[in-house]
Amino acid sequence: MYDFAAFLLLVAMALSIVRALQGPTVFDRILAANMFGSATVLMITTVGFMIERTDLVDIGLIYALVSFTGTIAVLRYVEYERVMAEKQAKRAAGAPKEQL
């Protein structure tokens, strides 16, 4: 019973890898990596029940918490790059330093 669910979750992971490799925009890749993380959490929990080591749920908990940190970091980075690019453009257009 656990095998079937683990296999289906593996299929979902494969599909999200394809999107991560393909995704034209950066946000596609972030989305795919996020979904891959969630699928991994579910798969690790299921595999834990499969090999009779139920304390692997702790690893799932860690992933759920830490991948949130990673996603926030990625989104702050994207915002940082955008803000810096805007400042760059304004500086190139010759705006005085106070308006930056």
């Binding site: 289906l8 599909l15 946000f27 139920t54 759920a64 989104l75």
Partner: protein
């Protein structure tokens, strides 16, 4: 009783796996980032619910069961927030939603065109 729990677990786990696969298919087939976010969040809410409930029925009211419940709450909370932050980021970066070619725009509909 054990047999009924096992069958229910089997059904729930299979359902959760099916939701995961559908979510992945949606991730590949939908035309733009925003609709793909809908597909991806399906896994984290409904898929996680089915899988974790199926495992909870196997674990029972033990520490492991309590951890599974906490895991679901965390997944819901972080997935919803991360999805919101991602969508906001995408919108502010200027990514436009997909429009099917040939679709009547809102201005045309507003002028009372026939259905």
């Amino acid at each position: 009783m054990d047999m009924a729990l096992d069958v229910l677990s089997w059904i729930l786990l299979a359902l959760g796996g099916a939701v995961a696969v559908l979510s992945g298919v949606g991730l590949l087939r939908f035309p733009d980032v925003y609709s793909r976010m809908h597909a991806a969040s399906m896994l984290e809410s409904l898929g996680a619910f089915c899988v974790l409930l199926g495992l909870f029925l196997q674990a029972g009211f033990t520490v492991v069961g309590a951890k599974l419940a906490i895991l679901y709450v965390f997944l819901l909370l972080t997935a919803a927030t991360a999805g919101h932050a991602l969508a906001k980021s995408t919108y502010e970066a200027g990514v436009k939603p997909y429009e099917r070619p040939g679709r009547r725009t809102d201005s045309q509909l507003g002028e009372g065109s026939n259905g």
